[in-house]
């Protein structure tokens, strides 16, 4: 049986191309949309086998929120999540993906076979324990460190970070030093540590940065 795929991507051009690519791989695309509410409706009407969804859908719900919402009415739908973030925690939402979700990092999508494997795997065994298709680059960091990195990249001062995290400024300074060590971001008088950390953040996020605060 040919697997039926629902494509959710907020960038129209990427969506069109994804649709074309998925069709070329031999799947049937039952719908494509940029909007979470449309996706929920399409999932309900078309009952696809797999939902291929971008993690970052702009303002409002994320791909993770959408996947959870769809799973509520269709518990056996397969989920393939596309993201530009090398570590989904960098997107600013700590909500885990539904069980069995395949995570594809856009940067590593150099071969369509990776997409094909993820789609067929999700269709065949939507709830199966799987290993992430991509290894998060920020694996070595704790959730707190990821959050700290995000705040530094947002341009927050130590005082502001301390305010937001309810800790003292000196604790922030120490945490930043440890974070820099963990990310191997060195600095001397000629370079700025925060810029170095922000570059590291930009690298980890693909090219963009901070989707949501």
């Amino acid at each position: 049986m040919i697997a039926r795929i629902l494509v959710v991507e907020d960038d129209p051009f990427a969506r069109t191309l994804l649709r074309g690519q998925v069709e070329q791989l031999g799947y049937k695309v039952v719908g494509d949309t940029a909007i979470a509410s449309d996706a929920v409706r399409l999932a309900h009407e078309q009952t696809p086998d797999v939902m291929l969804v971008d993690l970052d859908l702009g303002r409002g719900p994320t791909g993770a929120d959408l996947a959870h919402a769809v799973r509520r009415t269709q518990p056996r739908i397969g989920v393939v999540v596309l993201t530009s973030y090398t570590d989904p925690r960098l997107a600013g939402t700590h909500r885990p993906l539904p069980i069995g979700s395949r995570l594809l990092i856009k940067r590593t999508l150099t071969d369509v076979s990776v997409l094909a494997d993820a789609l067929s795997g999700a269709a065949a065994d939507p709830l199966g324990e799987i290993e992430c298709a991509a290894v998060p680059a920020a694996t070595g960091l704790s959730d707190e460190q990821v959050e700290l990195l995000r705040l530094v990249a947002l341009g927050c001062s130590n005082a502001e970070i301390a305010r937001r995290r309810y800790v003292t400024e000196s604790a922030v300074v120490k945490s930043i030093t440890r974070l820099a060590k963990a990310l191997d971001v060195g600095h001397d008088n000629a370079t700025n540590l925060r810029v170095g950390l922000t570059r590291a953040y930009v690298d980890l996020c693909g090219t963009g940065g901070t989707h949501r605060e």
């Binding site: 991507e9 907020d10 960038d11 051009f13 990427a14 191309l17 994804l18 074309g20 690519q21 070329q24 979470a36 509410s37 449309d38 996706a39 929920v40 409706r41 971008d54 970052d56 702009g58 303002r59 409002g60 719900p61 929120d65 959408l66 959870h68 919402a69 509520r72 530009s84 939402t93 909500r95 856009k106 999508l109 150099t110 369509v112 990249a153 947002l154 341009g155 927050c156 001062s157 130590n158 005082a159 502001e160 305010r163 937001r164 309810y166 700025n192 925060r194 810029v195 922000t198 570059r199 930009v202 996020c205 693909g206 090219t207 963009g208 940065g209 901070t210 989707h211 949501r212 605060e213």
Partner: protein, 574 residues
């Protein structure tokens, strides 16, 4: 200033010398003396002044490096004392007794009086100098604080500019080869002219704080560019006479230093005490009355001030006329001397008080300005952070999506093996890649509250069923209030979906006075309100702390928030 008041060189010393000669020489001329006697008196007066200068210099030399009181005041006291001593000795030698206008004052008392007056003025000048130094030090602190604030703002701007440049260049670096590839393929296919990727600079961060702190620092650093608290002696006198009430306490002191010396030999202790009490009462009455009249008629300030000073002198003149039965010449002399001393004391002490007030106002103004700049700088820091976030947010989706899109476009086009389709796909890719990166997600600004909340609810439709009830007058609001209402509803809905797995929510917005009230009630799980997170920080920022999240009676959570038109919002400074 006290250094100019020394009996040494300088314009103040020259003036003091002239005043001294005018006063002392006529009184030092022996009765019946001819031109030789006049010259002798002049020589003695000059010698006394020269001696005072030498003594003053010697004491200053000895006291050099000690505290400023000893090096400022003592030389003057010593100089004045030596001068009084010489004159008194000369007067005795010539059998002049005390100068005629001060008849009845014993010689030792004359020395004490002159020394006390000299010391009093020296002390006043010293106090003024010390106060100026203290205020100058405070000014330096203010300047340093301003400079530090400026440096902090500047370095933050530099960091943010660097961050933005790095984000932008990373994006461009990723996009440029893709675009080149598309362009070269297109050029081969259609010989189309290549287009450049426009990349407008969204906001000059370095310019954000320019024109606010920098000019202040410049003004503070450049002492000549700001109104200086220094006053010339003439300006000092003029300003004092024009703008200051008579300062009473020092005049009482001067009176008590001089009057008893004149009363005591004539009247005895008891009457002297009574006369002094009367005199003090008169000084307070006349000076206080003059101040009252000056306040009543500010336009005639100067003339009333001078009349007050003359009135202060009249009782002394009357005393000479009635009790001492002096000849008219001596009475006039006493009147002139008393007038001179009273005017000098009044102007000096009033001037010092005025000068200190002015200095205080000057510093207060600086401090106020500094506080304003600090608050401005904090909001600029906040703005900088917002700009950085917007840049990053606006860049994120488009760049990444376009990279993927471009790769797919080329693969798909190549696979189609159709020149026309290939060219069409490439053109589409080129159009997408050539769009200005930051123009993609212009935030909708100026929308009404109704639209802002509606847009947010629309985003979450499908994931949660939302009913909204927005009071008409509240829904028409625009600007920050509308944006913030959207953010609050967004926060409430995302919490309801993510943490409470809610399926329904009710959003109610209404006006209460000038405040916008927002209530979002959901049917999700009753979430344990753990430690405050980013959402609560945002809520604090937006509402100034007036919000609450409470569990419903049976299920769900209710978020209530009050948005006031003017919020005191904490800034993310730094």
């Amino acid at each position: 200033m006290s250094r100019r008041l020394t009996l040494g060189l300088g314009p103040a010393a020259a003036l003091a010398c002239v005043v001294w000669l005018l006063w002392s020489v006529p009184q030092l001329i022996p009765p019946g003396a001819g031109a030789a006697g006049v010259l002798a008196a002049l020589a003695v007066a000059l010698a006394a002044f020269a001696c005072a200068t030498l003594v003053s210099a010697a004491v200053r030399h000895v006291a050099a490096g000690r505290d400023s009181f000893r090096s400022d005041v003592l030389p003057i006291v010593a100089g004045t004392a030596s001068m009084a001593l010489i004159v008194t000795v000369w007067a005795h030698a010539q059998r002049l007794g005390a100068p005629p206008s001060l008849a009845g004052i014993p010689p030792w008392a004359l020395v004490v009086l002159v020394t006390a007056l000299g010391g009093g003025f020296a002390w006043a000048a010293h106090d003024m100098d010390a106060s100026r130094n203290r205020i100058a030090a405070e000014r330096i602190v203010v300047v340093q604080e301003t400079q530090m604030l400026d440096a902090a703002t500047r370095s933050q701007q530099l960091i943010m500019a660097e961050v933005r440049a790095s984000i932008v260049s990373a994006a461009e670096a990723h996009l440029a080869p893709a675009l080149d590839r598309v362009e070269s393929h297109l050029a081969l296919l259609r010989s189309a002219a290549a287009r450049q990727v426009p990349f407008p600079s969204p906001l000059d961060l370095r310019g954000v704080a320019d024109g606010s702190l920098r000019p202040l620092v410049g003004a503070l650093s450049d002492q000549d560019a700001v109104p200086s608290p220094r006053l010339s002696w003439w300006g000092f006198v003029v300003t004092t006479v024009r703008a200051q009430p008579i300062v009473i306490a020092p005049l009482v002191v001067v009176y008590l230093l001089s009057a008893p010396l004149a009363y005591l030999p004539v009247h005895g202790a008891a009457v002297t005490l009574l006369l002094c009490a009367q005199g003090v009462a008169l000084v307070i009455l006349i000076a206080g009355g003059t101040n009252l009249v000056m306040r009543r008629f500010p336009s005639r300030h100067a003339s009333i001030y001078l009349l007050g000073v003359i009135a202060l002198v009249l009782p002394g003149v009357a005393y000479v006329a009635i009790w001492l039965d002096e000849p008219p010449g001596a009475i006039v002399g006493t009147a002139l001397i008393s007038l001179g001393i009273t005017a000098l004391a009044s102007v000096t002490f009033s001037g010092i008080a005025l000068w200190r007030d002015r200095q205080g106002e000057f510093l207060d103004a600086y401090r106020r300005e500094l506080e304003e700049r600090a608050s401005e700088s904090a909001s600029q820091a906040h703005l900088t952070a917002l700009v950085a976030r917007d840049v990053a947010r606006d860049l994120h989706g488009p760049v990444q999506a376009r990279l993927a899109a471009c790769a797919f476009a080329l693969d798909v086009a190549a696979a189609k093996d159709d020149l026309e389709a290939y060219a069409a796909a490439l053109e589409e890719a080129r159009d997408v890649l050539s769009k200005p990166l930051l123009a993609d997600r212009e935030r909708v600004r100026g929308q009404s509250l109704q639209d802002a909340v509606g847009a947010t609810v629309g985003l979450w439709a499908g994931l949660i069923e939302v009913r909204t009830a927005i009071e008409e007058s509240a829904g028409e609001l625009t600007g920050v209030l509308a944006d913030d209402a959207g953010r609050i509803v967004e926060e409430a809905l995302s919490n309801a979906v993510r943490h409470g797995a809610a399926t329904r929510a009710v959003v109610v917005v209404w006006l209460e006075g000038e405040s916008v009230m927002i209530s979002v009630e959901d049917n999700g799980g009753q979430v344990d309100i753990g430690p405050p997170g980013l959402g609560s920080v945002m809520m604090d920022d937006v509402t100034g702390g007036s919000w609450s999240l409470i569990a419903g009676a049976e299920d769900g959570m209710t978020l209530r928030a009050r948005l006031s038109p003017i919020q005191m919002r904490p800034h993310s400074a730094g």
